[in-house]
Symmetry: C2
Subunit: 218 residues, 2 copies
Amino acid sequence: MLPPQQCSKDARISARRDQIIAAARLCFRKHGFHGAGMAEIAKTSLLSVGQIYRYFANKDAIIEEIVRRIVMKKIRLMTGNAHNLQQVAHNLAHRRIGNLSAPYKEEQCAEQKEQAEIDHALMLEVAAEATRNPAVEKIWRDSEKQLFNEAKSLLSATFPQFSETEMTAKVETLAVICEGTAFRRLTTVHADAELLEAIYHHYFQSLFETDEAIGVEN
Amino acid sequence: MLPPQQCSKDARISARRDQIIAAARLCFRKHGFHGAGMAEIAKTSLLSVGQIYRYFANKDAIIEEIVRRIVMKKIRLMTGNAHNLQQVAHNLAHRRIGNLSAPYKEEQCAEQKEQAEIDHALMLEVAAEATRNPAVEKIWRDSEKQLFNEAKSLLSATFPQFSETEMTAKVETLAVICEGTAFRRLTTVHADAELLEAIYHHYFQSLFETDEAIGVEN
């Protein structure tokens, strides 16, 4: 165990970082990554610019921490039941992203929904920035790699009959569908959700189950 | 036929608009939609700010024209052979977006490739902006609707056996896969392209062909 003074120092640092991240999320959301400067982030977090630099070397370091936290949240949600393909199909068909694999609760509090909206907008912001800023591109690539491997391990544990290469291709198509659905969040809903769910469910079944003889061939 | 003076006036207006759009694309690409102002766009296009306002009411009007042109380009490319599902699967597996349905030429000139990269980056920029700017959200929604309906008409002509509702759901999943693949352009390539192509091709076949009796039931 850490001595008490170390504990409280760590807690203080952690609280300060949370405070800065919360402020930066709001600023980036409102003015974009380019429009929001360190001065504005400092003002919003009620700290001085000097104090901000004690916790984060620059704006990229703040972006990195924001992306890291969003990815961690996604991984935690995924760990629940990524193997429940019916649930995944259902959530995708209803464009319920963010908690893609966890059962979606209608009574989910407004605060959580709002944070999910902000997460989505920030990820778009970061993606756009990644096309012109190599530091942000690296953050983007690294966190995607982590999320992809996490998803692959989970699904490999549930469907051990597939080779590494096969599983990678299957997870890639899942990732494409998840990202595409998230990206289309702002577009008009054209399709009937029940039909869409049936299509996805059928697709996932053909991806992960050898329907002739599940568990017999392997 | 228009009188000659009208013709040359229209041509001049059109050339000026092209000049402004080309400059704005570069500015938005470099500094983001928020970071680039009308003054910078004017400077890059070698015009005065006053001249710019003669052709576009504001920055949103420029964005709208940029999105409209990108969508038109996509529609023209699609009109080629959207029904060639093997080709679509091939291009998706190789992350060849922009000319998704047209056969991809290795010798495609560098200029075209660069413009496709800029199109992609700008669409991300616009998507991020759409989450906070209702005017841009409307541009985004309207152009998506047009592209979606165009794709639906094309596929309905090729596969007339499906109802309107069925076709809408099928086109939605295609759109999700296209957008998801485009969105993942910057991430590391994890999957084997040949395996991925086989998965997509199989999926598209099951989506659009009643494999037991194609063309018999209808």
